[in-house]
Amino acid sequence: MKLFTSYNSILSVITLTGLLIIGFLFYQTLGQYINRQIEDHLYEELLEVKDFAHVKNILPSPEGFDDVIVEYKKIHKLSNSRRSFADTNFYNPKKKHKESARYLKTQLVLNGQPYEILIIASKFERQEQIKSIILIILLPVIALLLILWLVNKILIRRMWSPFRQLLTNIKAFNINQEKVFEPIQTNIEEFKELNKAVLEVSLKVKSDYKEIKLFTENAAHEMMTPLAVINSKLDTLLQSNSLGKEESEILSDLYKATSKLTKLNQSLLLLVKIDNNQLQAREEINLKTLIEEKLGYFQELIQKRNLNIQSELAEFIIYANRSLVEILVNNLFSNAIRHNYDGGSIRITLTEDNLDFSNTSTQMGLDPLKIFERFYKDNASDGTGLGLAILKQVCIRKNYQLSYCYQREQHHFKIVFKHSENKN
């Protein structure tokens, strides 16, 4: 729920209840005030009747009254109740319909005969008056509320616009890219504070991230020299004449582990390098030629595994960093060869804007969300688990769309190159 909606719903409930209560009280008060006026009037009429009776010794004729109806009734004896007012309905003979009214009932003794006198006054006009009064008061109040609501809406929208801008800027902030968080211009203290806090956090996050990258880079670099020592010592050991079968096997394992460690380190460094955008020089690259070159490069590996290569390559030129694109194609090839089975197949399709590598594998479909994660690999794989992560990193850096799917027992890796990026 939006802040304004939430605020508004609370406000409207309060306003409506308030309006209802005030309206009710207002109506009541007005009603009582009107009743009292009518009662005064009735009482005056009664006094007139009494005066008339007192002077003339007869009751005045009921037809002699204009705005009230007077009725007399002979009764046997006087009761205790002297005078009473109450509401009633009566038939207005002039207007020929029923109207609500108020009456005064009292008793009177004339010439020893007790009478009951009923004086009825119509409330119709007064009620119309109340209605008018209420309308006159309520309508402007409602109009005022509506205007207030509108003004509120506009004002709040305007006041929150820095906040919305802030939100957009926060969303645009990307730790991976050079884009820094852009502070907003506002005079509102709260937003200024928020702005400042977000700015500080973003700077902190950025510097922390930079530090981590630097650490990764330095750690990987520092490991290269000891690795070089291990390698050279292994090479020296290998020259020993007293090398038996057992020692050779141990050496072989050591070599494998060392080269894997080296590869892992190199991959980490490469990731950092791509992350840091260190490979920038761009040139025109004919992707078709490059893939054909790489086919030659991987030829022996392909032959050894007896893989069937089907390629459909259209002429396609992209404008990018050669190293990055080579890494991209190398990793696609390595992946397709490594995870294949002997006698399997690889299909390479290059059309305008889109490159598709598909390969057969002993593996079933993999989780497309996890496959590009660092160090995600199956237990059978001898790789570093960074190949696809590097692939993804290159694509992120170059704004290429990388996707994976498993169709008809083939693993598909598809890269869509953005046209706009290439033509300039």
Partner: protein, 225 residues
């Protein structure tokens, strides 16, 4: 041949020294900038192996100094930093090659020999081993004067083994030499077996003796012993 190894990591320096000396070369060692500076001023070398990060100075400064002395020494930079900028800077300052740590000694040796070969303009580009003859310039292999057709990778492999003759070359070193660092294929050691089998077959088919010896699955040796 005479080498100068400027490297602060003692273990690495020793191994290189040992490997090169065993090949019949003379090696001088320097463990820091100062020692390197002095040796470069006094002696001439066929090839200088230069580490870029020294405890008391920048290796690139030594390179500049060497070039200022106008000496003909070949320079192979060995660095832990795989940075294109540094590589370009080193090469533009006059280094002949750039090798990234970690490396195999056989690779290092092959590179230094290649540098020396290239520097000796008057020297011929022919390498021979009994009936086998390799022309590094035209990339031709001859057995008893007869041309043998090898693929690019097979040629590289044969040359690699020939310059490191009588040494055991691990499969790992051979894979790195053939594939470089780019492909995530460093673990496909067994494939080198196919490669060597092909080279062997082509050579023996044209009447060459089989000089390749397998060393218990860990590597191969090119020798006539």
């Amino acid at each position: 041949m005479k080498f100068l190894i400027i490297e602060d990591e003692e273990g690495l320096r020793q191994s290189i020294d040992q490997y090169l000396t065993a090949e019949g070369n003379i090696c001088d060692c320097a463990s820091n900038y100062e020692q390197g500076y002095q040796k470069l001023s006094i002696y001439d070398y066929d090839c200088v192996l230069l580490d870029l990060t020294l405890p008391d100075g920048e290796g690139l400064q030594l390179l500049k100094y060497l070039k200022k002395l106008n000496k003909a020494d070949g320079v192979l930079i060995i660095s832990a930093r795989n940075s294109l900028d540094q590589k370009i800077e080193g090469l533009s300052l006059g280094a002949d090659d750039y090798l990234i740590k970690p490396f195999h000694l056989s690779e290092l040796y092959a590179r230094t020999l290649a540098i020396i070969r290239r520097r000796n303009f008057n020297g011929n580009s022919l390498l021979s081993f009994n009936e086998l003859e390799i022309d590094t310039a035209s990339k031709e292999v001859k057995v008893n004067g007869q041309l043998v057709y090898l693929t690019r990778k097979e040629f590289d492999l044969l040359l690699y083994f020939l310059v490191n003759k009588n040494k055991v070359i691990s499969k790992s070193a051979a894979v790195v030499h053939i594939w470089g660092d780019e492909a995530d294929m460093a673990d496909s050691f067994d494939f080198i077996y196919t490669h060597i089998k092909n080279v062997r077959k082509k050579l023996t088919d044209s009447g060459c003796k089989d000089y390749f010896q397998s060393v218990y699955g860990v590597g191969y040796k090119f020798t006539d012993a």
